[in-house]
Subunit: 182 residues, 2 copies
Amino acid sequence: MPGRVRDAAATQAELLAAARRRFGTDGYERTTIRAVAGDVGVDAALVIRYFGSKQGLFTRAADLDLGIPDLTGVRAGDLSKVLVDRFFAVWEDDDTFLALLRAAATSEVAAEAMRDVFAGQVGPALAAVTDDRAPERAALVGATVLGFALARYVLRLPPLVDMTRDQAQAWLGPTLRHYLLD
Amino acid sequence: MPGRVRDAAATQAELLAAARRRFGTDGYERTTIRAVAGDVGVDAALVIRYFGSKQGLFTRAADLDLGIPDLTGVRAGDLSKVLVDRFFAVWEDDDTFLALLRAAATSEVAAEAMRDVFAGQVGPALAAVTDDRAPERAALVGATVLGFALARYVLRLPPLVDMTRDQAQAWLGPTLRHYLLD
DNA sequence: GTTCCAAGTCATCAGTCGATGACCCAGGAG
DNA sequence: CTCCTGGGTCATCGACTGATGACTTGGAAC
């Protein structure tokens, strides 16, 4: 683009969006700073200037808010529906979580970021609705959700790719209820 | 080792074992041929000579047999126990499956290898015990198992790392039964 | 003991990557 | 119009990677 607007904030936002896309499809190692910069039409050195390093870029790009609502007062029967809805919103709206998952498979810092997400967001959210053993239950819910996402979005197992949200809801609902309430 | 035995078959086996270890801990991209060769005490060029390329080394290293027994005649109540036992045998005995999982997160060929495992081993094994919708059920079982493995061995979520086999059995059992029989 | 093939090594290439630091220039302030 | 700050570029470095091909050497066969 010859007519690039010289706006640092906007450029940074574009870079982060491009980074999420790249990290989400290629993973951490195969994503290059040059490629991310190229997607935005900018020099690679600028990325380093803004984010310090590739690791810094990733950290910023993988900053994640699951947006789990307050579950206090949600009826037990509706819990899994709320969670599955959140699941699809988080996984299909943008590539942030996908980037984090792909990277976490091979990068310890990404794995730690993932652990922080569960400890800081999933755990507390579920603590409002389960009695004891909240961390254990949160981890099991996390494993379920990550497994489904891995199989559907990363491995692309055909039966799961073809599954509608309602079907997924029907299958995952009892499982989540089991982990939350039994 | 100055006194290396000049035995191609043995060296190849050592290289494959080292490759599985490296791929399993570092993932595909961060594993270098030099490192694998170094682990065995051999020159990197030899790896190329034997396996053609890094991709060829991985393909050979990730060749996997889940060893799922014939489930015909296994009582419904025992199914999940058999499967969870197999799970731990496969995941904790060697690093092959871990290598495949880590690699599948960022490599399309590894993802395809994983799909082949499910289509060729998990699906058929479960078809012997479920009526219809065997592929869908197999995929859900796979998602469950992979999610648990991802959370326990890759992300190392503390509650799952600390979980004993019996506890895992107690949690996963009803879930697998749900996917197989409901 | 000589031969000879396969096991293993060595030097090296071509490419790519993250990162650095000097530089250029658009555009608002005065 | 001029100045000058900061957004953006350019050239380049050093390290590392997968891969190649010519080379050396161990050891069984005879």
